[in-house]
């Protein structure tokens, strides 16, 4: 007769987590919640510090058009952030219009068409472009790009088309303005969008390409009809990350935008952005109200970024949902 086996003892009566798991879990939970807390801390600080200006000016802080921190006999003190908000949105939009198609093209080339021997060096160069500090873009913009831009574009365009379309109206003074800023911002966000697009396209399973090739599609049809639709959500995400960077860029914008609080329809005229306004004036604010108003502008920038990110999430979610059914 076989010996009776005692059933194995599974339960130890203790927590199901092994002891190494407890601190590990606690640590990661703490770090994850720190991120959430940080966002709320920043928002809270911006909210509290902008209180004074918000009670004094209300929505004028966002939509008022006159920004005048020092009261004089001719002009009363006023804090209207619209020039900055408008400048931020316009320069980012210009950057996106220029950068997105170029960057997606670069991403497609790197992921789909580039010979293997070129892929690594080219990818490296593209990523290097992202690592260049923004002040260097600013310097390059001031000393190289603006003179070139003025003689090759701004002057000829403002004297011809500019007489009909106010966006391109002259006169060109320094050449600093939203268009120049937008172009340099485009250069700065180009590598972000390009390398993310390349990565996202790299995730498309080869089976999708093969399916397309096997029904007699050309390389172009394969990319356009199978690869890009598959990675739509990711490409939108890449563009949104680029947009986020363009919205918040401070240094290059400050150096190139001209820092003028006057709203001009011409994209060649000096303007300002929210980030450059805060960076320029916060350290030498003339009153606590001035400081509070600047923080309100920063708060608005925070809000815009948050809002756009949220919108991007929604868009990605929508695109992913519309291609639901799992990825084969």
């Amino acid at each position: 007769m076989a010996q009776q086996l005692t059933p194995p003892q599974w339960s130890t009566g203790k927590s199901p987590m092994r002891h190494g798991d407890v601190p590990f879990r606690a640590g990661t939970v703490a770090l994850a919640s720190a991120v959430v807390l940080l966002v709320f801390a920043v928002a809270g600080m911006l909210y509290v510090s902008s209180q004074e200006a918000r009670t004094a000016f209300g929505w004028d802080l966002l939509f008022g058009t006159v920004w005048n921190p020092i009261e004089t006999e001719l002009s009363p003190m006023s804090f209207g952030g619209w020039p900055a908000v408008r400048g931020t949105l316009l320069s980012a939009l210009i950057a996106l219009i220029i950068a997105a198609p170029l960057a997606i093209g670069i991403g497609i080339f790197l992921a789909e068409l580039c010979p293997l021997s070129l892929r690594t060096p080219l990818s490296f160069l593209v990523e290097l472009l992202a690592a260049v500090p923004s002040v260097i873009y600013g310097v390059w913009g001031v000393f190289v790009f603006i003179p070139f831009f003025n003689s090759a574009f701004a002057n000829p365009i403002s004297t011809t088309i500019g007489s009909y379309i106010p966006w391109f109206a002259g006169p060109i003074s320094t050449g600093r303005g939203l268009l120049v800023t937008g172009v340099i911002l485009a250069l700065m966000i180009l590598p972000t969008i390009a390398s993310l697009t390349r990565d996202v396209l790299g995730l498309v399973p080869n089976t999708q390409r093969e399916a397309m090739l096997a029904i007699g599609a050309t390389r172009w049809e394969t990319i356009w009809l199978a690869v890009i639709p598959y990675s739509r959500a990711g490409i939108i995400g890449a563009i949104m990350l680029g947009l986020g960077r363009a919205l918040g860029e401070t240094m290059a914008a400050t150096m190139l935008v001209g820092n003028s609080q006057r709203i001009s329809e011409s994209l060649f005229a000096p303007a300002t952005t929210a980030a450059s306004l805060v960076a320029n004036e916060l350290t030498n604010s003339v009153s606590s109200l001035h400081e509070s108003a600047l923080i309100s502008v920063a708060f608005a920038l925070f809000g815009i970024t948050l809002f756009l990110n949220f919108g991007a999430r929604l868009l990605i979610w929508y695109v992913e949902r519309s291609t639901r059914g799992g990825r084969s």
Partner: protein, 287 residues
Amino acid sequence: MERAMTLTRGIGFGELVAQRAKTGQLAVATENKIEMQKFGFHYGSFKAVHDVTMVMPSNRVTAIIGPSGCGKSTLLRSINRMHDATTGARAEGQLRLDGSNVYDADVDSVLLRRRVGMVFQRPNPFQLSIFENVAYGLRVLGIRNRKTLAERVEQSLRRAALWDEVKDRLHSSYGTALSGGQQQRLCIARTIATNPEVILMDEPCSALDPIASLKIEDLIYDLREQFTIVIVTHNMQQAARVSDITAFMLMNREKHYGELVESGPTDKLFTAPTDKRTEDYISGQFG
């Protein structure tokens, strides 16, 4: 088509082939659709397939069997030049489709693939509706007329034995939402929609359960009336069930390339193989 669908566990190859033979050979006259002559294939310095000489008749199913790594998939994919985008991939010898070499310099691989379609190991539908999955190939061919598209899609889905299962949700359901077997039949529908002459199948059932596999096998059997089919399979019973011609490939132990051991009518290869290695393989002594 009346054909005994038997799960063949426990049935010998001889019986299997005899059973199949009862359903009769096709009346269609055959000619050599694909001829390989001293055909070899390299990836860079690595030789994957060496010196294959064989013929694949039209309107017949040719199965390529052999253990993993013997080059059977490489051989299959070289028929419609799927390797074109792979750097260093290179063919030698001749691979003729209707008498003309597929690897001639003036052959456009896109046009070639419109004549030689392919079904893959893992079902790979697009993330589109069922209808669009089938219509995509037609659109690539330049067919825009909605009525023509709808007709061709229905026809293809019917021939792929999928129509009844999906006719109510052609536009509302995604191809990727179907079951594995349905996805594979959808991929077959997508392939036959463009009306190729040859259909290549790379282990089309390896990701499917036995019932779904049998459905695909039945389909393959029916499709040969209209197409020339070349199928790669791990499964010898499957080869015995669906094919008319079987080619057995093996990795050469010394030279490390895949080579053709023998090819011939399926019943003969499985019942009276001429090569000792074939006999060993089909009797399960290695592989």
